[in-house]
């Protein structure tokens, strides 16, 4: 009897293993009392591109870290190619044919491409033999890379290619990609999808982590939806609409934000910059060229571009952190402001919220009400005199932001660093919007923010524009730019493109613009 059951289970294994690559069974992982993964079961077939879909904190990253051996599960089992699988570390996982491409690329900037690839391969040296193997592999998958270049000189797409080559060199049967398109241009994204499809045609399985619904619908065969550490559903994304997927993912109503009415073009801009060349604060940043752009009252201007193409300098110029020599090169309602510093610009109604939430936009170790003083001190009587703070006023203002902008936090006395990304962003945007800006400059406001907070921020920016203010949105997120801006331009290698009406833009057009190719229209 005993022998029979064992035979049965063996037979089951054989039949399962013929199709299944990885089986995850009842996996749980706790950090203290917090369940990052709760009884998760997932099955991934050979040659399948399988999406793990969920918001930040849904447990996607924890799950793949367990599969890749970075974390150990508290409960549950895994089966890889029909055999029990429990990696003790990433090296162990690699030896079983599991490879991973990280979201924040695990590359070493000051080292060459060859050295970076060697580091991901157990026991390999960055020598000529390895170089030849890499060249052979790159030809096979039509990937382009220069082995002798330093990674610090590469674009985000090229860095990702380094990671992918590093993983492919291990001849993996299961490939994990964590949010791989967050820093890619549309063209780079298409190239990546082509590579992934080629890999899946060879029978390799791919786990594709994302919260971008459109991508998953285009690329993936199946999707496992995670929410709060548990599996909600397993679906065929091709049979779903973006809306139905989105609602399953966030567990609530999902509405795509759209502008209702586009303001009419105005001849007198609210803010305009005219500068042929802007030299940045450090040698590392790019020199900005041909910055001729203006934004009308009630309008949202988008500045697209992959990060590192001059966005920081442009933001600094707009906010006043970098002052221009010629005051006339920047006009706010006809008034020259090019040489004014941040505070003077704020007093005139030009407010800004930088990309770096912790450290640039606020001091992480200060409380929320203290952070209010940093930018909003000249409003609402927060300063009693030049040197004295009216604490009660600051706290009132912080409380008002928390109420109006739906910030989830314990109190105004919470440290800024204790808030989640989405809640802190809502607070920081609220701090500026309640200051009634004439012009609001904001950089990557929804980077690393969950879908609900993202919708909220978009809604607030639109509301602000509809109330008559101008908004300048510097962003890497193409979907965001196309959804809420009226006019759009792009930064590539410090060069600012012409401005186009968003209504006439397609993602392909915008991608070309981000790569420095001018488009007509």
């Amino acid at each position: 009897m005993f022998v029979l059951t064992e035979l049965n289970s063996l037979a089951e294994r054989a039949s399962a293993s013929s199709k299944q690559r990885l089986g995850v069974c009842d996996l749980s992982k706790y950090f203290g009392n917090f369940a990052a993964n709760k009884n998760i079961s997932v099955s991934i077939d050979r040659g399948e591109i399988h999406a793990l879909l969920g918001e930040n904190g849904a447990g996607k990253s924890t799950l793949v870290k367990i599969i890749y051996g970075i974390l150990k599960p508290d409960y549950g089992t895994m089966v890889l190619d029909g055999l029990a699988y429990l990696p003790v570390n990433p090296s162990h996982a690699r030896s079983h044919g599991v490879g991973m491409v990280f979201q924040h690329f695990a590359v070493f900037d000051s080292m060459t491409v060859l050295e970076n690839i060697a580091l991901g391969l157990d026991g390999r040296m960055p020598d000529q033999a390895l170089g030849l193997e890499i060249i052979y592999l790159c030809e096979r998958y039509r990937l382009q890379v220069e082995l002798g270049r330093r990674v610090s000189d590469l674009s985000a797409g090229e860095r990702q290619r380094v990671e992918i080559i590093r993983v492919l060199m291990q001849d993996p049967s299961l490939l994990i990609l964590d949010e791989p398109t967050s820093v890619l241009t549309p063209q780079e994204r298409e190239e990546l999808f082509g590579t992934l499809r080629r890999l899946s045609d060879e029978g390799r399985s791919i786990i594709y982590i994302s919260h971008k619904l459109d991508e998953v619908r285009v690329l993936c065969d199946r999707a496992t939806l995670l929410r709060g550490g548990s599996v909600i559903d397993v679906v065929d994304p091709r049979q779903e609409s973006t809306k139905s997927l989105g609602e399953k993912m966030i567990g609530g109503r999902f509405s795509e934000t759209k502008r209702n009415k586009i303001p009419e073009e105005s001849t007198s801009p609210r803010l305009s910059i005219r500068a042929g060349e802007i030299v940045p604060k450090t040698d590392q940043a790019l020199i900005l060229r041909e910055v001729y752009v203006s934004v009308a009252a009630g309008s949202i201007l988008g500045v697209a571009g992959v990060s590192g193409n001059g966005q920081e300098t442009l933001f600094d110029v707009l906010s006043g952190e970098l002052r221009l020599v010629n005051p006339e090169s920047m006009l706010l309602d006809g008034q020259p402001i090019g040489d004014l510093e941040v505070e003077a610009r704020r007093d005139l109604g030009l407010l800004s919220a930088p990309e770096g939430r912790l450290g640039h936009a606020c001091v992480p170790e200060l409380t929320l009400w203290e952070n209010v003083i940093l930018t909003a001190r000249n409003t609402r009587g927060i300063l009693k005199s030049k040197y004295l703070v009216n604490t009660a006023q600051a706290k009132d203002f912080a409380a008002e932001i928390i109420r109006t902008f739906d910030v989830r936090t314990s109190s105004v006395n919470a440290k800024a660093s204790s808030l989640s990304g989405g809640n802190l962003q809502k607070f920081l945007i609220g701090r500026e919007i309640l200051g009634n800006p004439k012009v609001f400059v904001v950089s990557n406001p929804t980077w690393g923010v969950d879908a609900k907070a993202q919708q909220f921020v978009h809604g607030q920016l639109i509301k602000l524009a509809e109330s008559g203010a101008s908004v300048i949105l510097i962003s890497q997120d193409i979907d965001e730019l196309l959804a809420i801006t009226d006019r759009i331009c792009a930064l590539c290698h410090g060069q600012l493109s012409r401005t186009h009406a968003t209504a006439q833009m397609t993602p392909e057009h915008l991608g070309a613009l981000m790569l420095g190719q001018e488009v007509s229209g």
Partner: protein, 308 residues
């Protein structure tokens, strides 16, 4: 100036530089792994005392040097425990290590003050040491002078030509990426701290075994700090540490001999010279790399925490 005097000066420069070469290499290997250890001075003087005590007991040079290395590594392991395991602030821990080392060596070494270490035999390199001038200046030294150059070669080969060295540099460059690839950041850093502590200990032992050869409280006299500056001067490259150490040794010896040549500058100013030179060189390096950011390991001095 006659040739004999000049060759003696060159000889003296090499002797004065050797402790800095060892200590500089010790700091370099730790910093390449991303560990900023300001305790080099403390490691040196503890090594100095340990080597001296073992030498007094009649052990051969090799054993004394090994004892110094072990003492340095042992004290460094305390630093490693604090910084890597307890996640203590590395700046404060390093300063504490220096003060602790100076105090510990003064206490334990009080009974040895005034004693003299046995003379160390000089290795005359066959043939080469017979060349006039060059032979006396470069090829008639104690074994440790040659050992310091060998050590720099080994450190260079390890860092630039071996896989463990590649991994060590990767850990210093970006510890989060290294962790994600599955390298043990703390393990590698701990080994680097041990190796660095050992080298700093040998640097200290050179003072008590060969250069003076006595033990006096606080006798490292700031050499640990110079060694740290040398690493920046050398842009974290082993052979440039030798070059920097010899430059510093040169200024030290020249100021000693300048009075003999009849240069009448107050001795206090002269003894400031090596340190002034260090400051000038560091200012020059920062000025030259202005805006390009640091050329050092990117994760240097940053505390590594495993995040989920």
């Amino acid at each position: 100036m006659d040739m004999i005097l000049l060759s003696a000066i060159v000889h003296a420069i090499l002797v004065a530089s050797t402790p800095l070469v060892f200590a500089g290499l010790g700091a370099l290997i730790q910093e390449r792994a991303g560990v900023l250890n300001l305790g080099i001075e403390g490691l040196m003087i503890v090594g100095a005392l340990a080597g001296f005590v073992v030498a007094l007991s009649g052990q051969p040079l090799l054993v004394s040097v090994l004892a110094a290395a072990m003492a340095g590594a042992l004290l460094a392991s305390l630093f490693g425990f604090l910084v890597l395991r307890c996640l203590a602030n590395p700046i404060a821990s390093g300063l504490a290590l220096t003060l602790f080392g100076l105090g510990l060596s003064a206490l334990a070494g009080a009974q040895y003050v005034g004693l003299s270490a046995p003379q160390v035999a000089v290795w005359h390199i066959p043939l080469l040491s017979n060349i006039p001038f060059v032979g006396k200046a470069f090829f008639s030294h104690d074994p440790l002078v040659y050992g310091s150059i060998l050590a720099a070669t080994v450190v260079w080969w390890f860092l630039m030509r071996s896989r463990p060295g590649l991994v060590l540099r990767a850990v210093g460059e970006n510890h989060d990426s290294a962790h994600a690839l599955g390298f043990s950041v703390r393990g590698i850093r701990f080994l680097a701290i041990l190796a660095g502590g050992g080298l700093a200990g040998i640097g200290g032992a050179y003072l008590t075994l060969i250069q003076t050869p006595l033990f006096v409280e606080g006798m490292t006299a700031g050499r640990g700090w110079i060694a740290l500056a040398l690493v920046v001067f050398a842009s974290w490259r082993p052979f440039r540490v030798i070059a920097g150490a010899y430059l510093f040794g040169c200024v030290t010896i020249v100021q000693l001999h300048s009075q003999a040549f009849g240069v009448s500058i107050p001795s206090q100013i002269l003894s400031m010279l090596p340190y002034l030179a260090t400051i000038l060189v560091l200012v020059f390096i920062s000025w030259r790399s202005k805006g390009k950011g640091s050329v050092g390991p990117s994760s240097l001095g940053k505390t590594f925490k495993i995040s989920h």
